[in-house]
Amino acid sequence: MVDTIQPLLEIKHLKTQFFTSKGIVPGADDVSLTIDKGKIVGVVGESGCGKSVTALSIMQLISEPGKIVGGEILFDGRDLLKSSKQQMYTIRGNEISMIFQEPMTSLNPVYPVGKQVAETLLIHNSHLSKEAAKKAVINMFELVGIPDAKRRFQVYPHQLSGGLRQRIMIAMALICKPKLLIADEPTTALDVTIEAQILQLLKDLQEEIDTSIMIITHNLGVVAEVCDDVYVMYAGKVVEHSDVFELFDHPKHPYTKGLLKSMPRSDVDEQRRKLYSIKGMVPNMLRPPQGCRFHPRCSEAMDICKKTEPTVVTINEQHCVSCWKYNER
C-alpha cells in the first residue's frame, strides 16, 4: 500500500483509567490506533477489553470516576485532549459522532424522534431555520431507509422497532455529515436479519457521505462483513493490528487465533466439531496479570510471557502484533 492516504484519527499511547474505591482500573492502557480517511476500522475484543473506553475517550465522554491520564488523540491534525470544552462541543455530533449499542434506550423517550435528530443539526448550524432542519431530517430518514419518513418525524421512540430506532440513531449521527462515525456495537441488540441490513446501510452511507467509520464489536463476522482494518484488543491493550484479509488468513496473536476458532462455521466438515472457546476468564483489571496479560489463558505461553510485557512486533507493513512468539524472529 502506498502511503498517500492521510490519517484522520491517530491515537497515540492513550491511557484512560478509572479511579475506583478499590483501586485504579486501566480501561485503555497505552492504546495506539489509526483511522485513515474513508476507511472502516474495526475494534474487536471481549466485553471489558477497553473498546468502548477508547471510543468514549475520543469523544471525551468518559464519566466519573474515569479519567484520561495520558496520550494524544490527533483528529484532523488537532489534539483533542488539548481542546477546550467549547471546542469539544463543536466537534461532538458535528465532526465526530457516535451510535450506541442499545437503540431501545439511546433515544430520549419523551421527544419525537425527528425533533431529536433535528436538534443535532440545529446546534451545529445556528443559522438554519426549523423548517429547513425538518426537511433535511426527512431527507436523511429516507437515506437511512426509514419508510414513510414524513410521518415518522413526529413519532416517539417507543412506537418504533429496534431496527428502525437504530436507523434513527444512524440518521442522527450522520445528519451533520461527520468526518468520523464511531459505531459502538451497532448491531449487538438487533436480530441477525436486521444486523445485515444495518451493516449494509453503514457501508453504503460511508461511501455516500464519505465518512470514516470506527466499528466496535465483539463479533468477528461483523468485521469480516464491513471492515478494512482491524484492531484486536485484550485487557485494555491492542494485541494485534492488521488489514482484514491478512487477519483472517494469517492471524498471529494466540488470542486472535482463539477468537477466530471460536466463530461458528458452516463448512461441512466443521459442522460436527464442538464450538471452540478460549479457556479461562478476562482478568480482573484491578490486578492485571504480570507480563503479557493474556498469558494465563494462552496455550502457547512461554516463561518470558509471565514476566515481561511483550513489545509491538511488525510482521509486515499492514500487520503488527504484541506477542513474544514473534520477537524471536
Partner: protein, 310 residues
C-alpha cells in the same frame, strides 16, 4: 384522552359515594343527638318530636342516606345544625380562602423545591447540595404548628413584617404560605434531586452529550422532563392535600378555610356540615389525581390513554 378522563370520572363516582357512606355510618354510631345539642338546656319533648320529624331523624338509616345523596347531587348538603345556614353556602364561603392558601403554599414549595433539587443534583456532594438538602430536611422535619408559631414570633411580634393572624388581604397569606410551602418543598427538592440523578445515568443522556449539547442544556432539555414525572404526582397530591384542609395552619393563622370548618363541625357534632366538608375534600382529592394523570401524559408520551399507533 377525552374518553380516558370520562372513564376516570365515572370510576370516581363510587369512590365519592363510598366515602359519603363511611362518613355517614361513622357519624350515626357516634353518641349524641343533634337536637339536644341545638337546644341545649331548653329541651321540650314536643319540639324534639316535631324537629326530629322535620329533619327525618326518625327515618331508617338507609332512607336518610339515600335522601342525603339525592340532595347532595343537587348541591344541597342540608342545614348546619349549629350555624343554621345551608352547608353549601358555608363551604363556598370557606373554599376560596383554602384555595388561596393552598395555591400560594404550592407555588412556594415549587419555587423552592424544584430549583433546589436541580442544583443539588448538578452539583452533587458540593456545599450547595448539602445546604439545600439540609434546608429541605429541616422543612420536612419541623412540625407545621411549631414553625408557624416560630414565624409568628419572629416575623410578626419581633420584626413586625407580617400580620400575625386573620385573613384580610394578600399580606395575610405570605407567612402561612411559607410555613406550609417549606414543609412540602423539602419533599419536592429531595424527589427532584434523586430522580434527576437517576435519569442522568440513562443511555439517552449519553446520546445527548454525544450530539454536542452543552451540559446545562442536557439537564434542562433532556433530563428534566423525564425526571419530573414522579414529582408531578407528589405535587398534584400535595395540592389536593393542601386544599382538603391545612387544618393546623388554618387554625394557627386564623384562616377561615375548609380545615377550620371541618374542625369546628367535629367539635359541634354538626353532622351535615362535617359530611359536606368531607365530600368536598374527597372530590378535591379525586380531581387532584386526575390532573396528575393528565399531566403525566403530557410529560411522557408513552402514557397515551387509549391511543394506539404503529
Amino acid at each position: 384522552m377525552k374518553r380516558y378522563i370520562l372513564k376516570k370520572l365515572i370510576v370516581s363516582v363510587p369512590v365519592i359515594i363510598g366515602v359519603a357512606l363511611i362518613t355517614f355510618l361513622l357519624l350515626n354510631v357516634v353518641p349524641g343527638d343533634p337536637i339536644t345539642l341545638m337546644m341545649k338546656e331548653h329541651i321540650n319533648p314536643d319540639v324534639v318530636k316535631r324537629v326530629s320529624a322535620e329533619m327525618h331523624l326518625n327515618d331508617p338509616a338507609y332512607f336518610r342516606f339515600i335522601h342525603f345523596l339525592w340532595n347532595a347531587l343537587r348541591g344541597d348538603f342540608g342545614i348546619s345544625y349549629k350555624l343554621n345556614r345551608p352547608v353549601s353556602e358555608l363551604l363556598l364561603e370557606a373554599f376560596p380562602n383554602t384555595l388561596a392558601l393552598a395555591v400560594a403554599a404550592a407555588v412556594v414549595s415549587w419555587i423552592i423545591g424544584i430549583p433546589a433539587g436541580i442544583l443539588s443534583a448538578i452539583k452533587r456532594y458540593s456545599f450547595l447540595d448539602n445546604f439545600f438538602m439540609g434546608f429541605s430536611l429541616l422543612g420536612v422535619s419541623m412540625p407545621v404548628f411549631w414553625t408557624g408559631l416560630l414565624f409568628q414570633y419572629i416575623f410578626s411580634l419581633k420584626l413586625g413584617f407580617f400580620p400575625i393572624s386573620g385573613f384580610d388581604g394578600p399580606e395575610y397569606l405570605i407567612m402561612p404560605a411559607i410555613v406550609l410551602g417549606w414543609s412540602s418543598a423539602g419533599t419536592i427538592a429531595r424527589l427532584t434531586r434523586s430522580n434527576l440523578l437517576d435519569v442522568m445515568r440513562n443511555d439517552y443522556i449519553r446520546t445527548a452529550r454525544s450530539k454536542g449539547i452543552k451540559e446545562l442544556k442536557v439537564v434542562t432539555n433532556h433530563a428534566l422532563k423525564n425526571s419530573l414525572l414522579p414529582v408531578v404526582t407528589v405535587m398534584a397530591l400535595q395540592v389536593s392535600g393542601l386544599l382538603s384542609g391545612a387544618v393546623i395552619t388554618e387554625s394557627i393563622f386564623g384562616i377561615p378555610g375548609i380545615g377550620r370548618v371541618a374542625v369546628d363541625a367535629i367539635q359541634n357534632r354538626d353532622m351535615p356540615l362535617l359530611q359536606g366538608s368531607v365530600i368536598l375534600t374527597t372530590i378535591l382529592v379525586v380531581v387532584g389525581n386526575l390532573v396528575a394523570d393528565i399531566l403525566y401524559s403530557y410529560l411522557d408520551p408513552r402514557i397515551k390513554y387509549n391511543k394506539k399507533e404503529a
